[in-house]
């Protein structure tokens, strides 16, 4: 498949001279810091602890490195609105992050934030090859999560015809795809493959579809998966990156060169750090992605640790965009497990299991891949209290557990009871999560 030359959505921004870009970043960073220092108690306190007054101490971008990181917990602890930088009356939309923590991370958007967001997702879609002639089918969840609406507004901004099909009901998705002559599919990579499987089952010939692009995001994936998606759906598949705390989709997106995701540097500052030491990584070196928003008004974040592992792709991209690229997300650096695009913290699963029987079982999460589909398995060691000789009771217990977990995380796990002492251990502690997807 040849690389078509597709128009760049905002060439004056995306292809900006690096010097000019840095100036813009500096201006925006200063304004942002001045605002958060004034308006957000959390940051003011943080800055004061290190005696940092933005007006005096931020003279170049590098000075940012003096500031402390903002973590997911910081955001959680500010539940719901404590980190907002504008009065609530100016907030026109609220999203929450996916995840399993006690308090979700709440993100607000002002009118202008939404406008910028739309613009940025439009850029990502455009770089993935979408134009206003395309019919775009969005299979992300619409709702409190930011994915669906995020892409949606961008697609509208782009002028494409949007099919907000949201998640699930794969057959209907395929039918819509056929009937509405969808040209671009927005989905998680795994869902793209499910659709391909389902089409096979239904005997739908992908070649008969109008589909040309798959825009994938939401979970870590691999180059093989891309190849598979492209070969089976006859599309160009590109990666993009978004994170709710920062904005949602639109933070970075791959162009048709498929050499990494262009990071929208005029709106976000990009850092990749060693998650252990906080040291800045060299280009090409794997580390944790840290993002500072430059234009967000309602919910600016300063040096936000995303927990996503990636690397900065060295060199420039022939597409003409001057924004630096990041590699695909290669994993999580904390104990968060991403399965089917959902962040799961194994510890929280334990909390849920505990509710069922009033006792915390010894358990392990195992991610497996069955066919195209990721699966979450929960292996639980049997104890006397958990052992029932009646199969039905045993089943009820397992059902109850499955139900509770499913309610909580939105994924239905397989519960597997195993013999005592059979779970993989490190020292005398059971390893909470085993990833068997790549096996």
């Amino acid at each position: 498949m040849t690389v078509e030359s597709r128009p760049i959505w905002e060439p004056e921004k995306e292809c900006m001279d690096r010097g000019e870009l840095e100036q813009l970043q500096l201006e925006r960073l200063q304004a942002t810091l001045n605002r958060v220092y004034r308006n957000v108690a959390f940051y003011r306190k943080r800055f004061r602890e290190i005696d940092f007054v933005p007006e005096d101490d931020l003279t170049e971008l590098a000075d940012l490195k003096r500031l402390p990181f903002t973590t997911r917990d910081d955001v959680s602890n500010s539940y719901p609105y404590d980190m907002f930088a504008v009065p609530l009356r100016e907030v026109v939309r609220v999203h929450t992050s996916s995840g399993t923590s006690v308090n979700p991370r709440v993100v607000g958007y002002t009118k202008r934030d939404l406008k910028n967001w739309a613009q940025l997702t439009a850029r990502v879609l455009a770089s993935a090859g979408v134009t206003h002639d395309d019919v775009i089918q969005i299979t992300f969840a619409y709702g409190l999560l930011s994915g669906g609406l995020g892409i949606h507004y961008g697609a509208e901004r782009l002028g494409a015809s949007v099919l907000p099909t949201s998640v699930g009901r794969t057959e209907r998705q395929i039918k819509i795809m056929q009937d509405f002559r969808t040209t671009a599919l927005v989905s998680t990579p795994s869902y793209a493959l499910i659709i391909a499987d389902r089409m096979e089952e239904l005997g739908v010939d992908p070649k008969q579809l109008s589909l040309r692009f798959a825009i994938c995001a939401g979970e870590p994936w691999t180059e093989e998966m891309r190849r598979e998606i492209e070969e089976r759906l006859f599309v160009t598949a590109t990666d993009n990156y978004g994170i709710s705390e920062v904005m949602g989709p639109g933070v970075a997106g791959e162009c048709l060169e498929k050499t990494g995701m262009h990071f929208q540097e005029d709106h976000f500052l990009l850092e990749v750090i060693d998650p252990e030491t906080g040291r800045e990584c060299e280009p090409g070196e794997l580390g944790e992605l840290v993002i500072t928003t430059l234009t967000k008004e309602a919910f600016p974040v300063i040096r936000y640790r995303t927990g996503d592992l990636c690397r900065i792709v060295p060199g420039t991209c022939p597409c003409g965009r001057t924004f630096r690229r990041i590699s695909r997300i290669e994993g999580r650096c904390d104990n968060v497990v991403v399965i089917k695009g959902v962040n799961i913290i194994p510890e929280r699963i334990g909390d849920i299991l505990e509710q069922v029987k009033g006792e915390r079982p010894v358990y392990q999460l195992v991610a497996t891949r069955r066919g195209r589909l990721d699966q979450l398995e929960i292996w639980i060691e049997i104890t006397e209290r958990l052992f029932f000789d009646k199969m039905r009771e045993q089943r009820t217990l397992v059902d109850e557990m499955r139900q509770k977990v499913a309610n909580f995380i939105g994924i239905v796990p397989r519960i597997k009871l195993v013999e005592r002492g059979s779970l993989e251990r490190e020292g005398d502690r059971v390893i909470p999560f085993v990833d068997r997807r790549s096996e």
Partner: protein
């Protein structure tokens, strides 16, 4: 065209500019708005060379012009129309214009032509060309101040509070002129307290508050912005929760 980076300027012993960065691209009108005391004038004075910044840099066409004397700045093609007009009140209108072209003083024909063109353009000035500038009305003085700056043939115009103290109708007039100056290819940095009027005609805007930029963006987009009001009226920093 003009890039200001992390500029710190003291006005007397007042830290009037606290790390201000901004840029203006060729052919743009960029508005710099903010309440009084925000440091806008200090910023243009720093650019124009009247004040020497303590820290930071000013680049014009890739050349560092930080701390240059005002004369040198004018010669590079940047002209300032200062706040309160600052015309030479005891000189005639014509002499004011002639002084505007001081750096071109050896090109008399050019000065003559430029002056004729300007007088053509502002017939009211032509009528008063022999009058002492101090006797002009506020609006006329503002036109004179702008014309005087134009006599230096600047590519880049700094306008400091051109609407200050003028009647609304005259303000419109002045802004129409500014817009036209841009259309003729000049780049303009417009400093205004009158945020609405300024943002109407600006491509982009920066909002300053107590020596800092707190917001920047496209002109019309800032217009409706609550943060702008906040910068002026101090709304909401403490009671971020009220509806």
């Amino acid at each position: 065209m003009l890039t200001v980076r992390s500029l710190h300027t003291y006005y007397g012993n007042i830290h009037a500019l606290k790390g201000v960065s901004l840029h203006v691209r060729s052919g743009e009108i960029v508005a710099l708005i903010g309440a009084n005391g925000a440091g806008k004038t200090t910023l243009v004075h720093s650019i124009a060379g009247l004040l020497r910044p303590q820290k930071g840099s000013i680049l014009y066409k890739e050349e560092d012009i930080t701390g240059l004397a005002p004369e040198a700045v004018v010669e590079r093609g940047i002209a300032l129309v200062p706040e309160g007009r600052q015309i030479f009140a005891t000189l005639s209108v014509e002499a004011n214009l002639e002084m505007g072209a001081f750096i071109h003083r050896n090109r008399r024909d050019q000065v003559r032509r430029d002056m004729d063109a300007l007088l053509e353009r502002f017939p009211i000035l032509r009528e008063r060309r022999r009058q002492l500038a101090g006797t002009l009305s506020g609006g006329e003085q503002q036109m004179l101040a702008i014309s005087r700056a134009l006599m230096a043939r600047p590519e880049f115009l700094l306008l400091d509070e051109p609407s200050m103290g003028l009647a609304p109708l005259v303000i419109r007039e002045i802004f129409a002129i500014i817009r036209r100056l841009r259309d003729e290819g000049r780049t303009i940095l417009l400093i205004e307290q009158n945020a609405r009027a300024a943002l109407q005609i600006a491509d982009r805007g920066y909002v300053m508050e107590t020596g800092k930029v707190v917001l920047q963006g496209e002109g019309r987009e800032l217009l409706a912005h609550r943060e702008v009001q906040r910068a002026y009226l101090g709304k909401g920093s403490k009671e971020i929760w009220d509806a």
